[in-house]
Symmetry: C2
Subunit: 181 residues, 2 copies
DNA sequence: TATCATTTTCAGAACGTTTTGAAAGGACTG
DNA sequence: CAGTCCTTTCAAAACGTTCTGAAAATGATA
């Protein structure tokens, strides 16, 4: 059967979404499954995923679970059907919020804590240092706090975006555009 | 020689920075080199990098080049010295701007273009479709435009942050905090 | 031009991540 | 409770990425 333009668009999008995700440290297959479910007009089951993306049962199972963990898709049970189905969040802003929150927790928080710890270590080590060593400690302190300050502002901005939410952000962006001239 | 607390902080930070980067799709070594240069109080040469991070000459060379490509470090030549030295951008906001700009160009732009292409394909394919097929096409169109709209707003926001710049962003975040109350 | 210091390159090795597929596990059904 | 349907698990394989190190290239100097 010949592929319609709509089907072609679907598979093109799925492929690119997977590629983009791969360059952001997210497994390609997981992202492809996400794209597939995002576009699908109804929940799909494991076999649908296996068939449409040509992946093994094991891979489909693990990646679906991971997506559920991230909070990007949910399991759906249907009365009288033993299969599990999966449905993606379709609100792009909600998706964004979920992803930012997860990545912050998993990947940003650890470095923030490390830097705080580094600052403490320098505070202890600095005592009694003279000359170059003391200057080095000061320079390190400065660079660590610079990053920490940055993280804090970013945090504020993202919380703000999250609070402002789906409907409010478009007008907010417009307002800001004027604000900055 | 015993490691001072300041040295310990340095190597702890370098390791964590590398780990974080790895989870964001950036090679660990490249990020470690970046962290090393960010902390260093003066430009370092290839041999310094090799020694301090215990990597091969080849790896040091390639990763340094990649960092120069990204615009995160610069080559420095010293009169009467054949060696090349490298120095990192130390302004965290400038760093952020550079990274966002690069990643947008490399990784976001392609997906935006793909989605635009998908919308065109659907526009063509939809003609004459009846019933379910037509509805599917409409649903796809909706989902594609949702993402596109999202990208546009993000774009605006980042351009804004970039324009507002280093000094202006801290007050801006504060203002926004009140604005969203 | 020959020599020396340095950087770059790249094939192969090492490594980490993801996938596979078969087997085990769960859970409902007749 | 045996059979069926479906999901999960996990060791081994496949795969992609990054690193290594020796050789080639570069480019300054004598």
């Amino acid at each position: 059967m010949p592929e319609t333009p709509v089907e072609a668009a679907k598979s093109l999008y799925i492929r690119r979404w997977g590629e983009m995700a791969a360059s952001w440290g997210i497994s390609r297959t997981m992202a492809e499954i996400h794209a597939l479910l995002y576009l699908a007009s109804e929940p799909l089951c494991t076999d649908d995923v296996m068939e449409q993306l040509a992946v093994s049962r094991g891979s489909a199972s693990m990646n679906l679970r991971e997506l559920v963990n991230w909070g990007l898709i949910r399991r759906i049970h249907r009365r009288g059907d033993r299969k599990e189905y999966f449905d993606a969040e379709r609100d792009v802003w909600q998706m964004f919020d979920t992803i930012v929150r997860e990545r912050r927790r998993r990947e940003v928080q650890p470095i923030v804590e490390t830097i705080e710890r580094c600052l403490k270590m320098i505070g202890e080590g600095k005592r009694g240092l003279r000359g170059q060593a003391g200057k080095n400690a000061e320079a390190y302190k400065r660079r660590f706090t610079d990053i920490l300050d940055f993280c804090e502002i970013m945090n504020t901005l993202f919380n703000l975006m999250s609070k402002t939410g789906r409907s409010g952000l478009k007008p907010l962006a417009a307002t800001l555009g004027k604000l900055a001239g």
